[in-house]
């Protein structure tokens, strides 16, 4: 992907709070960056798999699944730390109230699925005690408002939007269920990373720095993020309170918990291992 010799790095994303570090990235002297916005994870993964984009901030489970299927990609950094909430209907007071109800998640291959699983197990139930429904995040607040589902777990800012619309409230934050969880990650195609090691390094380190900019959560950060999300400022501020972009390293312990959960949830029989899939070399260089 070059033009006048200067590489263009194409990164796919969905307009969520979780992809915030990307919003602070700018073109440099040795590469240009092009952010490609998608409207659903599935379309984004199609583009990544087909090599039409070089990388993406994506649900890590979808990327692991693609890796398992033989797509040569690797995770080089987290998208964010924490920052997911379980949004429930006003009458839900505890996990017990959710039993037998429908719970919406954005995708089967998502950490949100794992959160639901863990939340239920921690309360002594199993995932089969609720009715899981996959749906587009944008439709979750109205589903909750019309009592089609009793709760939803999804990438921000949709939890925050639900709360601000008054259709739901926060039952848990993700760190209450699974501290230091892994959710979205910056996943890059290996062929891109290997094409020019210097650019790759530079790019990932800029990504980490951008995370720190987002972490400020100040006026400037809010404006910058909202130029991508276009939601109300107070909703975004709420959303940012739940999230951190400080350390975007993918930890092995968390990754192993995730692998195990994926097997438990029958999302995968043989998920890629930490060694195969995670490449911390770039982000380590920054720290």
């Amino acid at each position: 992907v070059t033009e006048d010799g200067k590489p263009i790095v194409k990164i796919g994303y969905l307009p969520t709070t979780h992809a915030a570090p990307l919003y602070f990235m700018e073109s440099e002297t040795d590469y240009d960056i092009e952010l490609v916005r998608f409207s659903s994870w599935i379309d984004l993964m199609d583009a990544l798999n087909a090599g039409r984009i070089d990388g993406a901030s994506v649900l890590i489970e979808l990327a692991m699944k693609a890796k398992e299927k033989g797509i040569d990609i690797q995770a080089v950094a987290l998208g964010h730390e924490d920052g997911n909430v379980v949004t429930v209907a006003p009458h839900i007071e505890s996990v017990d109230d959710l039993i037998g109800e429908s719970i919406a998640i954005p995708n089967r291959y998502s950490t949100h699925h794992v959160y639901v699983h863990q939340m239920l197990e921690q309360a002594g139930y199993s995932i089969d005690d609720v009715n899981l429904v996959e749906m587009a995040p944008a439709e979750m607040p109205s589903s909750l408002s019309e009592n089609r589902v009793a709760a939803y777990v999804v990438a921000e800012p949709f939890g925050s939007i639900g709360v601000s619309l008054g259709v739901g409230k926060v039952l848990f934050q993700s760190q209450d269920i699974w501290p230091n969880s892994i959710d979205c990650a910056l996943v890059m195609r290996t062929d891109f990373l290997q094409r020019d090691e210097e650019v790759s390094k530079h790019f990932v380190s800029n990504y980490a720095k951008a995370g720190l900019l987002a972490e400020h959560k100040d006026e400037h950060a809010l404006t910058q993020i909202n130029s991508f999300l276009k939601i109300k400022d107070d909703v975004l501020a709420q959303s940012l309170q739940w999230i951190s972009y400080e350390d975007l390293t993918i930890r092995e312990e968390a990754f192993d918990i995730l692998r195990e959960a994926m097997v438990d949830l029958q999302l995968s029989t043989n998920p890629p291992t930490y060694e195969d899939f995670v490449n911390n070399s770039y982000i380590n260089e920054v720290q």
């Binding site: 199609d46 087909a50 699944k65 089967r108 429904v133 996959e134 587009a136 944008a138 109205s142």
Partner: protein
């Protein structure tokens, strides 16, 4: 008849050969473009473990409900609106503006009103089928040979007889082609309909398999959808022929 089957066989054989050639020449990763053999193997495994039939039956259930209710409502409304040009002049522009909007664009409102699961799929299929049938019916009623209306007036038919003995049979061939058009486009929207919170059906199967980058399954489902779509069209032809026989009076 036999020739027809041979031709169809040649056609499908050619498609499979071209497909295999594309894979060999294009050198695509198996994960991104599975070959015919892999797709057939997957299809067979879905048949054997029964999941395919489950998905097919739930999809057909949703489709039948959505399509049949749309067709009946559209035909009945259309027969009356076709006879009331002043009312139609008011409704027509609204319909013309609503029709070209994709059911995908409506989905936030469909969720709001109809929730998730079966209903959105049924509603989307309903929408996709309703407008073509309505427009075809109104047009058909408007284009009825004036001669038939003249004959009806000459023999002093009642309003009810006029509707049942003249207008419906006279308009039926044109309504029929509307029904065919609608069965095609409604079936196309099955996939879109089953993306909204459904946890089963052929559309869900495709979306779910796409998530898992399981393109064997996607293609197996595509082929299944195509074949069923074709079968539905033929089924409709039978129904049409049956309806037409109703008023020929060929029973003496």
């Amino acid at each position: 008849m036999k020739n027809k089957w041979i031709s169809a066989f040649i056609g499908f054989a050619a498609v499979i050969i071209i497909w295999q050639l594309v894979i060999i020449i294009g050198d695509y990763p198996e994960a991104l473009l599975p070959g015919p053999a892999a797709v057939f193997a997957k299809w067979w495994s879905l048949v054997v473990n029964g999941t395919l039939f489950e998905h097919i039956s739930i999809s057909l259930y949703r489709f039948t409900l959505g399509y049949v209710s749309a067709a009946l409502l559209a035909i009945i409304l259309g027969l009356f609106l076709g006879r009331l040009p002043k009312v139609w002049a008011i409704i027509d522009p609204v319909v013309q503006v609503i029709r070209p909007v994709s059911p995908i664009a409506w989905s936030p409102f469909i969720v709001l009103w109809f929730g998730i699961g079966n209903m959105p799929a049924i509603v989307i299929i309903f929408i996709a089928a309703f407008f073509p049938v309505l427009l075809a019916t109104v047009a058909a009623v408007n284009r009825i040979e004036p001669t038939y209306l003249k004959v009806a007036a000459n023999f002093e038919l009642s309003q009810k007889d006029l509707m049942w003995k003249i207008i419906l049979p006279a308009a039926f061939p044109a309504i029929g082609s509307g029904l065919h058009m609608a069965i095609g486009s409604a079936w196309i929207f099955l996939v879109a309909g089953e993306m909204i919170g459904a946890q089963s059906g052929l559309g869900y199967l495709i979306v779910d398999a796409r998530n898992a980058l399981d393109l064997d399954t996607v293609l197996a489902a595509i082929v299944t959808i195509g074949v069923i779509g074709l079968a539905l069209d033929h089924l409709l032809r039978f129904v049409e022929a049956g309806v037409k026989r109703m008023w020929t009076g060929k029973m003496m």
